[in-house]
Symmetry: C2
Subunit: 162 residues, 2 copies
Amino acid sequence: MNLKSQVEWALHCAAVLAGLPEGRYLSTKALAEFHGLPKEYLSKALQGLSQAKLVDTTLGPSGGYRLARPASDITFLDIVEAVEGKGRTFVCNNIRANNPCRPAGFCDDKPCGIARIMWQADEAWRRTLADAKLSDLVAGLAKDVPADIMAASRDWVLERAG
Amino acid sequence: MNLKSQVEWALHCAAVLAGLPEGRYLSTKALAEFHGLPKEYLSKALQGLSQAKLVDTTLGPSGGYRLARPASDITFLDIVEAVEGKGRTFVCNNIRANNPCRPAGFCDDKPCGIARIMWQADEAWRRTLADAKLSDLVAGLAKDVPADIMAASRDWVLERAG
DNA sequence: GTAATCAAGGATAATCTATATCCTTAAAAA
DNA sequence: TTTTTAAGGATATAGATTATCCTTGATTAC
Ligand code: FES
Ligand code: FES
């Protein structure tokens, strides 16, 4: 039960895009190179962000991606769901319906108590991600990452941003 | 990113075992039949519970499984981890290390801020499951499931419990 | 206008994981 | 002694993840 690695990719890309000056775009190529990722496959993750309207895109040279909203309006949950889907991690196959002691055609009025608890846990997970804003992440990075690497990365990105 | 269906199976089996009278055992065959599941494959899930010491087993005719501890001492997390493993759902592949602006051999002192938040969400999920006791589930089932089905199931199980 | 660059997305392949079955072994009970 | 059982090894099938390649049409730079 692992999240796909694209989730890590998308979150890191979003963090980079959040640091981009107003109105500029960064291409898949640059994002892939910056993170050491396969460009074509990373592209699928970015398409997910695009379909979820988290990023704007533009074509042609100097084209690429930028955030569609302020980083303070984008949560981890937005990004994770854009890549991983909105489905629950626990899927109930309703095995209780196979109980041989049930009258034929019996219909449950509530979801199973086991599913309810598993879904509560899913909800707790989602709530934590919904409370984590992209802007908080960016602020945190500024403290974690040494200033020289931060500055060098900024320059590296700006050189490639259209 | 789905939990394996064995999680649902194991939780339902644990609920049935919790209803078993003191000292009696129920076999894989009975549990598989009761839930309409493939016996051999369900066996793997039950082996997981056994390895986690959540259930006791005994061999021979009238053998099978029973809870190793009171249902009030077993949580959803115990069961889920026994089947699904204890690993985190978010795996950090440390892609930040591929940043071309880093000095060679640079070593991070903290886990990445993205991983920290994803792991917090994992923790929230686990905490919810750790707070859900098997005994609470059994009490809840008594309310959800119609009394006649409950009684019939109880008889069905007792007929097969060694 | 022309050539280069880009996102989007379809098609396909490789690799892993989940699902499932079969079979052997050894212990316990009848 | 025979039957029943859990444990676990060996495979097999299906599905998901990871990855590459190629086409299309839009946009920019020249
Ligand atoms: S029937 Fe699916 S969790 Fe109970
Ligand atoms: S490097 Fe893995 S989450 Fe940031």
